[in-house]
């Protein structure tokens, strides 16, 4: 059994997809190995629940396997897989009782709420003031506090590092909608982290 799939240097997505499309199950298995962690992280970031994230992980790979013949190769396989996983994750959010539905293309906001309230310089190495676990919790809590549609756009753009165009395509929303949500998400996270990481006991402009 080869272990080359775990080595991104030699990982050839297109070749594996081609083999998988002709029924090579081992090739599909290698694709799963390559992307399972990223898909699980994506699912956790959007759903924020372990049980839902597990369902999303399974459904995404099972559907990808089942519909591999529909993958046309005009985007990257990973982008196609992410699209399936995001759809599954959004469906989970909609199914949750008491959770507001996730509008896929709500009217553009005018930016009225795009304000920065917490303006403070960060400490030089704020991460050194916290343990790895504490940092992880601070980052996760901040993402948790975002509305699902902002969280989803932030996850795709800034964690998955998809382009604005890819994000718009995956979510089925306009490019201006992606940009506006990303701005709101980034500014909201900046506020949250600033509260934790700001330089203590100093006036905001003391450094100037």
């Amino acid at each position: 059994m080869t272990t080359s799939a775990s080595n991104s240097q030699t990982f050839d997505e297109a070749a594996l997809v081609e083999r998988a499309r002709t029924g090579d199950q081992q090739a599909f298995g290698e694709l799963v190995h390559q992307y399972e962690r990223k898909i699980y992280r994506l699912a956790m970031n959007i759903t924020r629940q372990e049980e839902d994230a597990e369902d999303v992980l399974q459904e995404a790979f099972l559907k990808a396997y089942e519909h591999l013949d529909r993958f046309k190769g005009d985007s990257k396989f990973y982008t196609w897989l992410v699209r399936i996983a995001v759809n599954e994750a959004l469906m989970k959010l909609r199914q949750r009782k008491g959770d507001r539905t996730v509008p896929l293309d709500e009217p553009l906001d005018t930016g009225e709420e795009t304000m920065a309230r917490e303006i403070a310089v960060w400490a030089d190495n704020p991460e050194q003031q916290y343990s790895k676990e504490e940092i992880q919790r601070i980052l996760t809590d901040a993402v948790d506090s975002l509305k699902p549609d902002f969280r989803t756009v932030f996850t795709l753009r800034d964690i998955e590092e998809m382009s604005t165009e890819e994000t718009a395509e995956i979510l089925g929303i306009s490019i201006p909608a992606v940009k506006s949500r990303l701005l709101r998400a980034r500014l909201a996270l900046r506020e949250k982290l600033t509260r934790q990481f700001k330089r203590k006991g100093e006036d905001v402009f003391a450094h100037l």
Partner: protein, 85 residues
């Protein structure tokens, strides 16, 4: 000079360096002259850096086991006919 509100609307393109040269200069001028926006640019940039540096969570072993069990079941059910002859 751009107002802070106008600057904030362009913040993403400024951070992602996707503005044209003319806008870039106007935005840079604003940052140089506005201490508040200077701090916002710096802390937003650092926010993105912290998230980019976040390690992907490992999949819990039992979740992984169940994923592979589900996949194997699916694959067994869809074995190409030639393999059973």
């Amino acid at each position: 000079m751009l107002t802070c509100k106008q600057f904030l609307q362009e913040l993403n393109d400024f951070l992602d360096e996707t503005t044209d040269q003319d806008m870039k200069l106007r935005l840079q001028k604003h940052v140089n002259e506005c201490p508040n926006c200077f701090v916002i640019v710096d802390t937003t940039r650092r926010t993105l850096e912290v998230y980019k540096g976040m390690e992907p969570q490992a999949i819990p072993e039992n979740v992984k086991t169940r994923l592979w069990a589900a996949l194997e079941k699916k694959m067994a059910a869809r074995k190409p006919p030639s393999s059973t002859v």
